[in-house]
């Protein structure tokens, strides 16, 4: 491995340990590394361009929209009514609200196809509600972060489209069908892990059991439930794209909380807007910097040289598959998901196809690996969004994340060992 990798990683680790803002640490380490290849002015200009290009994407608008609507829902009583309604159904189970959180993130992630959108949309109002119910803020955030990634596997999913293009031939329709069961398995594993964790910590047991108000609570929740129907129904029936649904959600929650419930006053709006701008900007700086760092990694061919280094060890199929998974997990911690798929698919796919693994199955394995990477420090966009939304820090969220990582890891093992889970549904439709 060459000097550019060493500089990039060592400067990044040093800046991180020093508690430099992570976005700044990521951008600076990419900058130092790129200085080895280009002159000063070209390096600075390229870094600035890559940072701006990182946030120059229409799909990213889902983040500010769902952050804003999440805050409006939280402050305007929509969230509370939705949660009261949900508690009617799951309130008595251990970790009932964690289940609500996981199912909402899975559903929203599935439909929007974006894990960060799911984290900002659901986390924004569920985390405070879970906290009111006795859950720790960190655990609630950890649940949101991990559950949001299931939407990468359950269709529609933009990242599976990227994989299809990078693999040069795998059908998107087949990949979409292949993702259903693995996505649900991840959600199930997360639910089991959170139930155990919640039981151990005694979360959610303090909430009083009110059974007499089922009808009233359902009735109260109707206008709020309509928001869910509007967003999900609008996307599914093709009235708007998931990104556009964000803007509609903002408008609807604004009208509902300001004019109908009247729990948000006009003078509160500037505060809500400012909070949303701050959270959005924190996330965007991280995305901008990560995308610039990903660019430097690609430019210096670092992922390729790391894979060559690791794959040179053995020809044993199991060892090779293990190495590939480790590499995806490891490099997935630094690299954005899209460049990771674009760079690794052409390197790994021929190797695993020679081992007899179907490209559909491998696509699911790869996306799940990289999804775990989205929730791991030091670089993980969903983790970053979660920490900003849940107002917690990365060091505090790690311990409740550990059992959830384990759950995702077990799901990964199941999905690797049982290829039928991925290939059965596409096979049914002879894809």
């Amino acid at each position: 491995m060459d000097i550019s990798v060493v500089i990039l990683i060592s400067s990044f680790v040093a800046l991180l340990l020093l508690n430099v803002p992570i976005g700044v640490a990521i951008a600076l380490s990419g900058f130092f590394s790129l200085l080895l290849s280009l002159d000063f002015v070209s390096t600075t200009t390229t870094m600035a361009q890559r940072m701006s290009a990182g946030v120059d994407s229409f799909a990213l608008l889902a983040i500010p929209f769902f952050i804003l609507s999440g805050f409006l829902m939280g402050q305007g009583g929509i969230a509370h009514r939705l949660i009261e309604f949900a508690k009617i159904m799951v309130g008595r189970l251990p970790g009932g609200l964690a289940f609500v959180n996981i199912l909402s993130c899975t559903l929203f992630g599935a439909i929007s196809g974006s894990a960060v959108a799911a984290t900002s949309a659901i986390g924004g109002f569920v985390i405070p509600e879970m906290e009111k119910d006795g859950y720790s803020r960190e655990f609630s955030t950890a649940v949101t972060v991990t559950a949001s990634t299931t939407g990468m596997l359950i269709p529609p999913s933009n990242i599976l489209i990227v994989y299809s293009l990078a693999s040069g031939g795998v059908s998107i329709a087949a990949l979409f069908l292949a993702g259903y069961l693995p996505g649900l398995i991840v959600a199930l594993c997360l639910m089991i892990a959170s139930a155990i964790y919640a039981k151990m910590k005694g979360y959610g047991e303090s909430s009083e059991k009110q059974s007499g108000q089922v009808f009233k609570k359902t009735f109260d929740a109707l206008p709020s439930l309509f928001l869910v129907i509007l967003v999900i129904g609008g996307i599914v029936s093709g009235y708007f794209t998931p990104t556009e649904a964000g803007a509609i959600a903002v408008l609807y929650s604004f009208v509902l909380s300001t004019f109908v419930y009247k729990e948000v006053k006009f003078k509160d709006l500037s505060g809500v807007l400012n909070k949303s701008v701050c959270t959005t900007a924190i996330v965007m700086l991280l995305i901008a910097a990560s995308s610039a760092m990903s660019w430097v990694l690609s430019y210096e061919n670092i992922p390729q040289s790391i894979s060559q280094f690791f794959l040179g060890f053995s020809n044993n199929p199991i060892v090779v598959l293990l190495m590939i998974n480790l590499l995806l997990l490891l490099v997935g911690t630094f690299l954005d998901m899209t460049p990771a798929v674009l760079i690794f698919t052409p390197i790994f796919l021929p190797i695993v196809e020679a081992l007899g693994i179907s490209p559909i199955h491998f696509g699911i394995i790869m996306i799940l690996n990289l999804s775990i990477g989205l929730c791991t420090p030091p670089v993980g966009s969903v983790l970053f969004v979660g920490c900003s939304i849940g107002k917690t820090s990365i060091s505090k969220i790690i311990s409740p994340l550990l059992p959830l990582y384990l759950a995702m890891f077990i799901a990964l093992l199941i999905i690797i060992c049982v290829p039928t889970l991925s290939t059965w549904l596409p096979g049914l439709f002879s894809l």
């Binding site: 508690n19 430099v20 002015v41 600075t44 994407s57 608008l61 556009e244 400012n274 701050c278």
Partner: protein
């Protein structure tokens, strides 16, 4: 006028400006849906405009969030040091923030905006000058620099 007063004013303006952009963003994308849904002449500029608003919110908002101390860091190790050592660490952090804002945001961003201006690069749909979009980067760099100076001064006085 003292440094902190200047910063307060600049920051207040920043807050109002980015909030206004946020509202504009929501209205802009709603307009996109409305024109596509209700007319046969869907608006063709909204997608581009929305992306440009987002770039401005991202860079200017970052500076605002920096002043609030809201950016994420890894505080795990630093917390273990004595308060005196921590004050020194904070100053070192500020130096790196200055390095970031000067090299990448101010120099890099200005070069980028200048290149787009010199070569008269126009956006594909609105025909807007791309240099205006890129101007958000050096402006954000200047704001980061200003707020770093304020923070440095506060830590030196204590």
């Amino acid at each position: 006028m003292s440094l902190s007063k200047v910063c307060n004013r600049v920051d207040y303006f920043l807050e109002v400006f980015t909030s206004a952009l946020m509202v504009a963003l929501v209205l802009n994308v709603t307009w996109q849906v409305v024109t596509r849904f209700f007319t046969n002449d869907p608006s063709s500029f909204t997608e581009e405009l929305a992306r440009f608003f987002l770039i401005w919110i991202a860079f200017l908002g970052s500076a605002h969030a920096f002043r609030k101390g809201a950016h994420l860091g890894l505080d795990y190790f630093v917390e273990k040091f004595s308060p005196a050592a921590q004050a020194k660490i904070v100053k070192t952090i500020l130096l790196f923030v200055v390095l970031f804002s000067v090299c990448i945001l101010i120099v890099g961003g200005s070069c980028l905006a200048y290149l787009a201006w010199e070569l008269d690069q126009k956006s594909a749909s609105l025909g807007l000058s791309i240099s205006i979009v890129y101007l958000a980067i050096p402006i954000s760099g200047l704001l980061f620099l200003l707020f770093s100076a304020e923070s440095f001064k506060n830590y030196s006085n204590n």
